[in-house]
């Protein structure tokens, strides 16, 4: 907090030494330093406020129960991994993490398999009703999960697939497939169409042109969209809450299961939270350059 003030102070202190400069240049320089000081302070505020709740979660997960419940809060402590061991093995968060992993990766693979050909067609071909198709894909991104969860619960009950991986994979495709199509369409458009032309003259079939030429070149976009599909599937709570009971619970559902009783095991809860969030933060950092694109489905760029 005192960094900018020291910077400003050192700026002031430097002034008498620069007597060779004109008064105006000196004033301009001082103003620049003050501005930089404020800029530093502003960036510090941005940084601290984005990081603090996350930092608080991670540190609480490493505190003993007494330290976690201390008031005023403890800032320095000896870290312990006991809560992680408890959460993973006693509370069976481990199993839910594996469920989440299976469900999110299956959703991602299926969305890529179904989505990339569609994206290619949207990027390369002209046909009637294309605009309406785009509209349909966007509206899927905007539909509230609760709208689908209500009827899907009845369908799943009738088909007897409640509390299975399959039911969640199907539901997660409703939001991850549009994302894959969206990002990959953009990617395919950037591949020179001359490549397709040349291959067609050589007698290659449309499928072969797509599979052997375009797909490998579109890999960067495919990877990005896969990461988004994975993150969104991993993060869902509502569908999993409604459609799983015990066997197929995902980790966000496991995290909410602590919420009964009086003495809440905060260390364990936060350890679970960290286990859920940390991999996603790493993934999101990998695609941070296109995070906005993923969240707006390519609208703002």
């Amino acid at each position: 907090m005192n960094a900018p003030s020291t910077q400003r102070a050192s700026g002031d202190a430097a002034l008498p030494g620069n007597s060779g400069l004109t008064a105006r240049a000196r004033r301009a320089r001082a103003a620049r330093r003050t501005a930089t000081g404020w800029h530093f302070l502003g960036l510090l505020v941005v940084f601290l406020s984005s990081v603090f709740p996350f930092y608080w979660m991670v540190t609480t997960s490493l505190k003993s129960q007494a330290e976690a419940l201390a008031y005023p809060p403890v800032w320095l402590f000896k870290p312990t991994f006991a809560h992680y061991v408890e959460a993973l093995f006693t509370h069976e968060v481990g199993g839910s993490l594996i469920n989440s992993l299976i469900i999110a990766s299956s959703t991602t693979v299926l969305s890529i398999l179904l989505g990339t050909p569609a994206a290619y067609a949207l990027a390369r071909y002209e046909f009637r009703g294309k605009e309406d198709l785009w509209f349909w894909f966007i509206s899927n991104r905007m539909v509230s999960p609760v709208v689908l969860a209500v009827p899907f619960f009845l369908i799943a009950t009738r088909l007897d697939i409640v509390d299975t991986h399959i039911v969640l994979i199907l539901l997660y495709i409703t939001f991850s497939l549009p994302i894959v199509i969206w990002i990959c369409t953009d990617q395919f458009r950037n591949i020179p169409v001359e490549l397709d032309e040349a291959a067609r003259l050589d007698g290659a079939s449309p499928w072969r042109i797509f599979w052997r030429i375009n797909l490998p070149l579109a890999m960067p976009g495919i990877v990005v969209s896969a990461i988004f599909a994975f993150i969104f599937s991993w993060n869902d709570l509502l569908y999993a809450l409604v459609l799983t009971r015990t066997d197929a619970i995902t980790s966000p559902v496991a995290a909410t299961s602590y919420m009964s009783g009086y003495e809440l095991p905060w260390g364990e809860i936060m350890a679970t939270g960290t286990l859920i969030v940390l991999p996603m933060v790493v993934f999101a950092l990998l695609v941070s350059g296109r995070l906005v694109q993923g969240l707006t489905m390519g609208a703002v760029k």
Binding site: T36, F40, G42, L43, V46, F47, S50, V51, P53, F54, M57, Y71, P72, P73, L114, G115, A118, Y120, A123, E126, F127, R128, K130, L133, N140, M142, V143, S144, P145, V146, V147, L148, V150, P151, F153, L154, I155, T174, N190, P192, V193, E197, P206, W207, I231, L237, L238, V242, A255, T256, G273, V277, V281, A284, L285, S288, G289, R290, T296, K301
Partner: protein, 311 residues
């Protein structure tokens, strides 16, 4: 990793020239059909079922009395139910208070990240914005419960530093609403910041340098030079965040479960309660359909204003 985030744009650069030729549509059909079929089966069929159920009595706790066709009774009951309007009104209030704060703070962060000084500090701050956005919504709610705890919450501690008496945040209706707001602001301000930053980087460098020589006031530059570049992003934020508020469930559920009372029961939380805790599927279907109509109106607006030139 750091490099890719520090690069201005990367997916946010101005639209590249797009090459597209006219090809016969027959192959397109086979490329598209698996995706269309899948989305129709899992996206549209359930909606049709919801539409069907919304015209029937469908109480899971009382299936013995059957599922008779009851015309618009579910819709009439919903539209004359004060708790439905209460949830919708609460959602609107939340949107009206939270969104301006998120945009204002996001603009502040974007302007800070757009300045030319302190490059590596800017890179770190920019990377840090990813953390709130990537945090699982349900965990955001759990962190909220920890921070706003009555006994040992760090919110009371920080409030105490500036002379605020300790509060029982999550037990008081107004304060619970504010707590949920603060967590939402934490999670979504970075999103606004990055969208607005993308707008700022579109301003031609020469024009900006010229303006800086002209006037030292950032507010003048913002209003006269940067504003038009920010408007498309702002429209996107407005519509996307409105749709997100209609969807908001996870963080509220883990943080307050809609309580105390119904103080933080937003529309998705309310419908979930009707469908899965009161087990009235007919009523919940009608409400879901009404919510869907609202969403379709919103996404039409989104297309109209944001995608004008796309597709």
């Amino acid at each position: 990793m750091l490099n890719s985030t520090a690069r201005p744009g990367n997916g946010m650069t101005p639209a590249r020239p797009r090459s597209r030729v006219r090809l016969p549509g027959s192959a397109a059909f086979w490329f598209l059909i698996p995706a269309i079929f899948t989305l129709a089966a899992i996206g549209i069929y359930p909606l049709l079922l919801a539409l069907y159920n919304s015209f029937h009595q469908y109480k899971l706790a009382d299936l013995a009395s059957g599922t008779p066709f009851i015309w618009f009774d579910n819709y009439i009951a919903t539209l004359s139910d004060p708790s439905f309007w209460g949830a919708l009104g609460r959602t609107a209030l939340f949107l009206c208070v939270t969104l301006p704060i998120e945009v204002a703070l996001g603009l502040f962060a974007a302007l800070m990240l757009h300045r030319t000084t302190l490059p590596w500090m800017r890179a770190i701050a920019r990377v840090s914005l990813v953390i709130p956005m990537a945090t699982t919504y349900a965990v955001v709610g759990l962190i909220g419960r920890l921070i706003f705890n009555r006994q040992f919450g760090v919110a009371n501690y920080i409030g105490g530093l500036v002379g605020m008496p300790p509060q029982d945040w999550l037990a008081d209706p107004t304060l619970a609403f504010v707590s949920v707001m603060i967590m939402d602001i934490w999670q979504w301000t970075p999103f606004c910041a990055l969208i607005l930053l993308a707008g700022l980087t579109m301003v031609p460098k020469e024009a900006e340098e010229a303006a800086r020589l002209e006037t030292p006031r950032w507010s003048k530059i913002l209003w006269h030079l940067q504003r038009p570049y920010l408007l498309p992003g702002l429209t996107a934020i407005l519509i996307l965040r409105s749709a997100d508020m209609l969807k908001m469930f996870d963080a509220v559920f883990t943080m307050t479960r809609g309580g105390p009372g119904t103080a933080t029961e937003f529309i998705s939380v309310y419908i979930q309660r009707v469908g899965f805790r009161l087990f009235d599927q007919g009523m919940a279907s009608a409400q879901a359909i009404l919510l869907l109509i609202l969403t379709i109106v919103l996404s039409r607006l989104y297309i109209r204003f944001v995608y004008r030139e796309a597709a």
